[in-house]
């Protein structure tokens, strides 16, 4: 349960930490052309995204105000940089960029000015100076086969695996940004030639997974703010995904749900049914098996999302989805699937649940179709 008192105590504690800014953030915001009203508006919208009651909005604002105490180190492993690109699109409006900047981003190799030796120096200094206080964000899976030789970083050719373990050691919190660092991602799809895995598999600390290929900027920024807000990791589901973002299935709030219930399905892309916005289940939509807030938040400042653009969900925030959800344009229930990569842990259980869900959903779809009232 949300505990306002606990949150307030946390903020008091943060306020006492030495900040990097010479002035409080509200003053900096004002000096940078952001009114207090803009700021509170942003806070309210973020509180809503986080699924917090409206009474939390002022607390979110307060937490953001002290956020420059939070050093962030962002490590890239085996990835495509899509998650960093997603983060770049964060809006609400430019104030998010400002917040982002004031979280004291110590290392992020896509945007930092320094390269080579200078970049390496920044990395090592951040780990030392902010020992025990930094949040480690990781983008990309970690190759483990053959000692992890499929990725090296730096003049000493350190493996990504080694660098990850070393960086995680003194992190205050670890956030896996995207499906690759959460569950291994595309490079971990069968036959997984590099032995890529989600980072939690090689670390002995809790990791918060923010999956998605890529996750929306709201889910990335929201999770970081949550850590600031509570000084602890958010409540998570079986796969360590924050419940506020991944608590509901895409299907639950889908704009085409009425058509699903009415048994009205798109049978072919480009058809009359497609033009009428019928349900995409029979074209392989994995919304019924996928936990994420896409149907509520959409993407790119609520511009659209795949189902609005007429394509089914491919289940990109689920573990092992590249294997488990394939083929992406066929209903799941048509296929018996078993991934060779799933071991006898939570992943396996999850997949079993999904298979059962797949059958159930298919049954529902079939019954809906029978009930179809006319034509």
């Amino acid at each position: 349960m949300l505990d306002m008192q606990q949150v307030k105590q946390r903020i008091e504690k943060l306020k006492k930490l030495p900040g990097i800014a010479p002035k409080p953030i509200p003053q900096l915001l004002e000096e940078n052309g952001f009114s207090r009203r803009d700021f509170l508006k942003w806070s309210a919208s973020l509180a809503a995204t986080l699924g917090l009651p409206a009474s939390f909005a002022p607390v979110v604002a307060e937490a953001a105000e002290v956020s420059d105490r939070l050093p962030v180190v962002w490590l890239h492993l085996a990835e495509c940089t899509g998650c960093s690109e997603s983060l770049l699109r964060t809006d609400a409006p430019t104030i998010d960029n400002l917040i982002f900047k004031y979280i004291n981003l110590q290392y992020h190799d896509t945007i930092m000015a320094a390269a080579g030796w200078q970049a390496e120096e920044n990395y090592e200094e951040a780990l030392k100076e902010f020992k025990g206080r930094y949040v480690l964000c990781v983008e990309g899976g970690v190759p483990t086969k053959d000692g992890g030789e499929y990725l090296t970083i730096g003049p000493y050719a350190e493996t990504g695996l080694h660098k990850l373990k070393r960086s995680a050691k003194d992190a205050a919190a670890i956030i896996a940004v995207g499906t690759c660092s959460s569950f291994g991602g595309i490079q971990a799809a069968a036959p997984n030639p590099t032995g890529a895995v989600g980072i939690h598999k090689v670390l002995d600390k809790q990791v918060i997974n923010v999956p998605g290929c890529p996750p929306s900027d709201r889910n990335i920024v929201g999770t970081i703010v949550y850590v600031i807000l509570y000084g602890q990791l958010p409540a998570v589901d079986n796969f360590n995904r924050p419940k506020w973002a991944y608590g509901l299935r895409i299907h639950d709030l889908c704009e085409r749900r009425g058509h699903f219930d009415a048994g009205e399905f798109v049978e072919e892309f480009g058809s009359e049914e497609a033009m009428n916005g019928f349900c995409l289940y029979k074209k392989g939509c994995k919304g019924p098996y996928t936990f994420n807030n896409c149907s509520r938040e959409r993407f790119n400042q609520h511009t659209s999302w795949p189902i609005q653009a007429g394509h089914g969900c491919i289940g990109c925030s689920e573990p092992d989805f590249w294997d488990a959800m394939a083929p992406y344009e066929e209903p799941l229930a048509n296929h018996k699937f078993e991934s060779i990569e799933a071991d006898a842990t939570a992943d396996k259980v999850g997949i079993t649940i999904l298979t059962v869900a797949g059958v159930a959903i298919a049954a529902h779809a079939a019954i809906s179709a029978i009930k179809k009232p006319k034509e």
Partner: protein, 578 residues
């Protein structure tokens, strides 16, 4: 006495890249090596899958050129199956391309490349009034500058000053501020810095442009084999207007900021030797892209030029595209065409060596073994010859072919800057060509949009029907220019599933190691002869490498394991209705 400088990681790029340069006693580069340090193996993963899934998986090769490999993966399968998507679908794909090029190019210049040119700390010394007036000098005829009013510039200065005062520059820490090859005046730095911040806003609009018909960005999801799925958005006039408006807004910014800042850079950097030193590799290769009607393309050249000669255009012969792995971490095959690419990973790692470090000391590190293998990137060649690909190749070859839109934009730029045509074949020219390509889209892109609207009046089709015959074997390819240059995907389909997949990507052409004949690719060869002011801060090298806009995740996925068991994964593609 030769000394070596290892630069790893090259930051502000996509992916994991190392560059090593060997300097003589005068700090002139005598040799250079480019080494990709990550391999992901996506082609191996594609084998045995449903061909309809390929585009979604190839898309994950890169999240920066997020749409390129999606379109390429889908199109290669269409080509193999003999599918001709409806015109509406082709034009929508072009609209997504515009959004991609807009986003990718402005973010590359401002967020990834600008810190090689723009000294942020120097901007604090600028006179905002003077800077505001100066900004009018650089815009194209008929335009006013943007985000360079005195009020805005003062605000930018204030913001950065407060930030700098904190004593912790965060992502700007340890940058190359005050480097002797930083040539902008404080006023010019301030103008560019203001645009650095403004671009963070504009790039969101470019991403929204893609999301309108693509569902989201990065990694849009509205293409399917045969066409596009966004039929409802196409039926919605408000959606069309939304796209048009955002297009115009970004296009306006391209002219008022991006174009202007490159003209400004041409003026300030025109005499900096490391920036205007001629390239050593003079061969440029491109392929048509951005279909604007049933039979026209915005960039229509499919061919190459040789030895910097803009006077002679050669048509491409696809059969002459080959890849070699002599110095790549794969078992040797000799030169092979991508349809027949057979590659087995063979990582040999780095060897012990020395490098000048950030302090100027010579330290023990790991270095490439130039006689052996030293990169995960392969070496593509055309007719056994290295080629540069990218916006510079696209502009130069289209110019040589006589593409009127390209000629107009290039000629006007050369006239305004007073640069000779040969100045294009430099680090500065490569950076300018990317902007010029963006400007061609900004100035002429709406043609495709208008043609789409015209076509929608009489034709609503968005997807072509097809069947995949499990008893037939298919092969097909996509070739086309994407933001970093000429991309090709080559596939074979057998028993209804993917039998083989090869992608020959732009950064592979440019960043690959030397081939078996000892010929170097663009990254390595074009660095040779460049003088470095300070080996502890090799900004000249970093700037040059950034001018290609490296995308190393794209470059290193290429793979096909012969005889290797593909695990237990099976798909049972069902092709009828469920």
């Amino acid at each position: 006495m030769a000394k070596r400088v290892v630069i790893d990681p090259i930051t502000r790029i996509e992916g994991h890249l190392r560059v090593e340069v060997v300097l003589d006693e005068n700090n002139v580069i005598k040799d250079a090596y480019s080494s990709a340090t990550l391999w992901r193996g996506i082609e191996v993963i594609l084998k045995g899958r449903d061909p309809r899934d390929a585009g979604f998986m190839t898309q994950r090769i890169c999240g920066v050129c997020t749409y390129s490999h999606y379109k390429a993966g889908i199109s290669a399968v269409e080509n193999a199956l003999g599918i001709e998507p409806p015109l509406n679908a082709k034009l929508v794909r072009t609209l997504l391309d515009y959004a991609l090029f807009f986003h990718d190019h402005i973010v590359h210049f401002y967020q990834l490349h600008a810190l090689d040119w723009v000294d942020i700390l120097s901007a604090l010394q600028a006179d905002p009034k003077k800077a505001s007036e100066e900004a009018f000098k650089y815009v194209p005829k008929g335009y006013n500058p943007i985000a360079t009013g005195e009020d805005e510039l003062r605000e930018v200065q204030k913001r950065v000053a407060e930030f700098a005062k904190k004593g912790d520059l965060g992502p700007f820490k340890n940058g190359y501020w005050g480097h002797p090859t930083m040539k902008f005046t404080p006023e010019q730095n301030l103008i560019a810095l203001s645009h650095y911040l403004k671009t963070l806003e504009i790039q969101r609009i470019a991403a929204q442009m893609m999301a309108i018909f693509g569902g989201k960005n990065p990694h849009p999801q509205s293409l399917t084999v045969g066409g596009v799925t966004c039929i409802m958005d196409l039926q919605d006039p408000a959606r069309l207007a939304e796209y048009m408006t955002k297009f115009q807004e970004v296009a306006d910014y391209v002219n008022r900021a991006y174009y202007a800042d490159i003209v400004m850079a041409a003026e300030a950097y025109g005499n900096e030797p490391s920036v205007v030193m001629p390239n050593n590799l003079g061969n440029y290769l491109t392929y048509k892209t951005m279909q604007t009607s049933a039979d026209s393309w915005l960039f229509d050249a499919c061919g190459y030029i040789k030895d910097f000669d803009l006077g002679k255009y050669y048509e491409i012969d696809e059969s002459k595209i080959e890849e070699d792995v002599t110095h790549s971490w794969y078992k040797d095959t000799g030169f092979v065409h991508p349809y027949n690419g057979k590659t087995i990973p063979e990582y040999t790692g780095y060897v012990d060596g020395k490098s000048i470090d950030g302090e100027g000391k010579e330290v023990e590190v790991k270095v490439v073994n130039p006689k052996g293998k030293y990169s995960w990137i392969k070496s593509p060649r055309y007719d056994k010859t290295p080629m540069e690909v990218g916006p510079l190749a696209c502009m130069a070859v289209n110019y040589a072919k006589g593409n009127e839109k390209v000629r107009k934009v290039v000629d006007e730029f050369l006239a305004q800057t007073g640069l000779p045509a040969k100045a294009l074949f430099t680090t500065l020219g490569r950076t300018a060509a990317r902007m010029l390509q963006t400007k061609v889209i900004a100035d002429y892109g709406l043609e495709a949009f208008n043609n789409l609207v015209e076509n929608l009046k009489v034709d609503q089709s968005t997807v072509a029907p097809y069947v995949i015959d499990k008893n037939k074997e298919y092969k097909g390819r996509f070739i086309g220019d994407v933001p970093r240059g000429m991309l090709s995907h080559w596939c074979r389909i057998k028993d209804g599933v993917i039998e083989n997949w090869q992608a020959v990507v732009p950064s592979t052409w440019n960043a690959g190691p030397a081939d078996g004949n000892g010929k170097k690719g663009a990254y390595e060869s074009n660095l040779i002869g460049m003088k470095i002011a300070d080996p502890t801060k090799p900004l000249e090298v970093i700037r040059n490498i950034h001018s290609y806009d490296p995308c190393i995740a794209c470059a290193v996925h290429v793979m096909d394991v012969k005889g290797k068991k593909l695990g237990e994964f099976r798909v049972d593609p069902l092709y009828g209705a469920c």
